[in-house]
């Protein structure tokens, strides 16, 4: 041990408040809490569905409470943030090389946003 050990004066729990880019990183990571919770909402829906029409109606009534609306709204914001942060880093996650050149990042990101729009429209068309 050295006599004057170096101690970093950085909080283990609040380190990300120092810089906007750390805050954005944490916002991206925290979306998983909402995705996790929403998946369990889907599992509960599946459970009630398997128990028959009355049980499913009870689930729907619970979903239609103010808390249900608020929860879905919060998950929607988190899910959209997740999608955007996920697609925005695709040029770094999977760079595509064509001959000597790399395909510009804007094309890769743009293709993902385009596919996202098409898939979302198909789901909404089938579901609503």
């Amino acid at each position: 041990m050295s006599r004057k050990p170096y101690i970093r004066e950085i909080s283990k729990t609040r380190w990300f408040l120092r810089q906007p880019r750390y805050m954005r990183y944490m916002a991206r990571e925290v979306t998983c809490i909402f995705i996790f919770a929403y998946t369990f909402l889907l599992i509960v829906a599946l459970a009630r569905l398997s128990q028959g029409p009355d049980a499913f109606q009870e689930f729907l009534n619970a979903l239609r409470s103010p808390l249900g609306v608020l929860f879905n709204l919060a998950v929607l914001i988190a899910a959209v943030y997740h999608s955007m942060s996920w697609f925005n880093v695709t040029p770094q996650a999977m760079p595509i090389q064509q001959g000597e050149e790399f395909v510009p990042g804007s094309i890769i990101v743009g293709a993902h946003y385009g596919a996202w729009a098409v898939i979302s429209l198909i789901i909404l068309f089938l579901g609503v």
Binding site: M26, I43, W86, V128
Partner: protein, 113 residues
Amino acid sequence: MAKSNKPIFWGLFAAGGTVTAFVTPALVLITLFAAMRFNMDMFTYDTIHAFAAHWLGKLIIFGVILLSLWHAAHRLRVTVHDFGVRADTLVAYVVYGIAGLGTFVTIVYLLRI
């Protein structure tokens, strides 16, 4: 080379991240509409049950739940670390355990429909 289970969990995380990015916002929009009574005919027992009764519907439901569950579980493990909890092995057992349980009950419920 040392054996590691990292590729499995990381693979599920990456695949799940992609699937949730494409699918979840629209899915949440549908449940939000259902919660807001946007259209009373759209989220009925009969239509959802018919979808889940078909083998292709079962496969889609299982795929979406499995991947978003394991994506979120792996990222949650990292997030808990980022919030200052350093008991990574315990955290890993807990989050992967919950994801495993969720996967198991999803299979059970799907087989009952």
